[in-house]
């Protein structure tokens, strides 16, 4: 019996260890740097990180929601809504950029809060609520901007994107600072404990005193806020507010979360896993571009990675039984 317990323990380490994705990432980087001389250059590596920053932020928020046993399909639309609304505040109302972006973040959090309220208080599955919100938020963004990019933004908007610190773009610094905070929140604070508990066994968590409604609403609100930050970054990079950004970001976000070992049933997962998932996806996309492979193959490749990750997961689960 002790043997069995040790066995399980070892498996649990392997399963929980987000670093298991490090090996495939290293192998991929190694082969890419051999095949393509352009891969292992500072510019290219920095491009990978810059391109994946919005995805990393959105997927981090999504990880909280999924561990809590919910789902947030509206992150991409929230990004678009935040981008257009803060751009409009600057171009049409002349608000200073930091205030406009601040209001944009509040909009993002509000979208998440409404998702949470409807899922928890009206008791509609979050899948449905956020599916509807995906459409509504995107629609509002299109209505507000009349379907086109919001231009005439102050020049300083792009400064966020072009600014550098210690040789790295601000766009890379933002996730580097924010994501560990979320990771800390999840792994160390009462909110994180509550999120894991509700995802792990909702009925037991409620009987143990975990405030179910508040926790789920908070997770969804944080997801909206993170999507908002991603929207701000994208706006700064593009220099315009766009209602059509991040249209299929949600697919990559879910893929990154799942590849990172988070269970779609809730209760299991880590932010670090999601980040490795984001990096893996970004490197695959980058590599295919460098190798001049048709972009259509990107989807095939990412799909295969999701399948491989799930197969490993399912095998792990079967071994336990």
């Amino acid at each position: 019996m002790l043997n069995e317990a040790i066995n399980l323990k070892v498996k649990s380490i392997i399963k929980f260890d987000s670093f298991r994705l490090l090996l495939p990432i290293l192998i991929l980087c190694g082969s890419l740097s051999v095949i393509s001389p352009n891969f292992l250059t500072a510019t290219n590596l920095s491009n990978i990180l810059i391109n994946s920053a919005p995805l990393a932020l959105a997927a981090t928020g999504l990880t909280l929601v999924i561990i809590c046993g919910d789902l947030d399909l509206s992150v991409g639309s929230t990004m678009a809504l935040v981008s257009t609304s803060s751009a409009l505040l600057m171009s049409n109302f002349g608000l200073p950029i930091y205030i406009a972006f601040g209001i944009g973040l509040i909009v993002g959090a509000l979208v998440g809060f409404i998702n949470g309220l409807l899922s928890v208080k009206v008791n509609i599955p979050s899948f449905i609520v956020t599916l509807a919100m995906m459409s509504v938020a995107r629609g509002i963004a299109l209505v507000l901007s009349d379907g086109s990019a919001v231009t005439n933004l102050p020049e300083s908007v792009t400064k966020i994107a072009s600014g550098r610190l210690l040789g790295l773009s601000f766009i890379i610094w933002i996730p580097i600072i924010i994501i560990p905070i979320i990771g800390f929140l999840l792994s160390r604070t009462v909110l994180g404990l509550n999120i894991y508990s509700i995802g792990g066994n909702k009925e037991a968590a409620i009987l143990a005193g975990v405030p179910e409604s508040k926790t789920r609403i908070m997770a969804l609100t944080l997801s909206g806020l993170m999507a908002g930050i991603a929207g701000v970054i994208s706006t700064s990079r593009l220099g315009v507010g766009s209602p059509i950004i991040a249209e299929d970001l949600i697919l990559d976000a879910i893929a990154a979360v799942v590849i990172g070992g988070t269970s779609l049933f809730g209760g299991i997962g880590k932010i670090s896993g999601t980040i490795f998932g984001v990096l893996l996806i970004a490197i695959i996309k980058n590599g295919l571009v460098l190798l001049n492979v048709s972009p259509f193959y990107q989807r095939v490749a990412i799909g295969i990675v999701i399948l491989i990750a799930s197969v490993f997961d399912a095998m792990g689960r079967r071994n336990k039984k």
Partner: protein
Amino acid sequence: MRGDLDNKERIILKTISAIDISKTFGGIYALDKARVSITSGKITGLIGENGAGKSTIIKVLNGIYKLDSGHIEVDGNKYKDWNSQQAHKVGISTIHQEILLVPELNVYQNVTLGQPKTKTSNLPLPIRKIAIKEDEAFAMEILSNLGVKENFQNIKAKSLSPGKAQLILIARAISRNAKFLILDEPTAALPQKERIKFFELIELLAKKGTGILFVSHHLQEVKNLCSEVYVLRDGKNTSLLSGDEINIKNMVNNMLARELNEQYNRPDNSPDSDSFVEVNEISSLPILKPISFKIRKGEILGVVGLLGSGKTELAGALMGIGRSGGEVKIENKAINNSNIIEVLKAGIILVPEERKTQAIMPELGVFFNTIVSFMSINFLNKYWKIFNSSKFRSKSKSMLNELSVKYLDMNQLTRSLSGGNQQKLVIGRTLLCNPKLLILDEPTRGIDVGSKSEVYSIIQNRVKKDLTVLIMSSELEEICVICHRVIVLSNGEITGEFDPKKATTSEIKDLMSGANTRDLTEA
């Protein structure tokens, strides 16, 4: 009369028996040399309390579980390995208490579900055209053989009453040539007046040669129907009753009888004389009718009752879950029960009945599971409070050590602990919150003997330090030893209260079963 297959292979099976079956889960015996037989043309009863092994032995007969030891015997042929195909071949069919119909299909489609009559064709079965007329005629014939002449044309299964739905399930089993029918709590979903018709049907089936195993906790029904009754307790057969032996008192005795276990100590503290917790007219309809009782400080109050007596409903209602009325006062202060967190904050905590589904978070570590209630209750709106710190880790650790929970390290998945250690962990979780009243619903179900006595000694040690405890249990002898006072619930009402030092167990069983008899004779 039955399905057309019947005429082709008219092998008349007489008896199918599960003999000396043992089956363990995680080191605990779910079945320990248990046996059950079903004989053609007879209605055999199978009774036992929750966790006695009834559903396990049903799954064994259906070939779902592999046997640890023992064998299945079909008309003298022994089978060591028994699988679901074999079970299907000899015609074992089980009807569960949930009614498994496809609600949007019509009645006849539900009868022939999965094996509809098709037009003769060379196509593979799934894409053959269904011969609707023939299919309906076949279903109708089966139903009329069961004495149902009603026309179900175009009636969807979802509009059927529970009794009719049950009938459709039986028709389905018969259409598939069922020779042995296992009915698992078949009347649980049936209103009283539909039951009588249902019993007539079962008797008719038996007369026509079907062997029936009637699994139920409605003892009066078992008494009226069955010619033989197997009684299981703790995975063992306590007796095989037949003839005059089948009476309620005897059945209850055999379900509950337990040798007095001297390893449990009587509580050696004496509770305060004033009442500490007052429960007024609390109810959880339709099962638990309004009841009132008081608990003194430092007291261990036991609540005993058979399955369905309302014990679990009482535990829930005290926490504010499913309560239809009444109030709970602790130290003369009424508790706001609008939210379970308010109840927990007032100092009432429940260790729920179903450990796996209601208590532990299996995929989370030992530490998370231990500290969760403490953090939630003490830092209710302080979400930013850090729980994963050495302070709270050592707090959890010392609690787990105090309760001698065996684990490898604090991050070990809780799923990998044994049942007894999981239960001690859950108790530790609640004790960390310093509850005023601890409610334990079946605290020793499904755990090994060693853990049982550990659980009881934990409770008794804590009671000396001011804890007040309410225990719901069906383990009569144990509860009599460890409680100061015991109340008896039967059919949602308090039928008696006694001092376990004075009352004899047979008197208590009379209280539990006597009331049971009274209610069931209404049927």
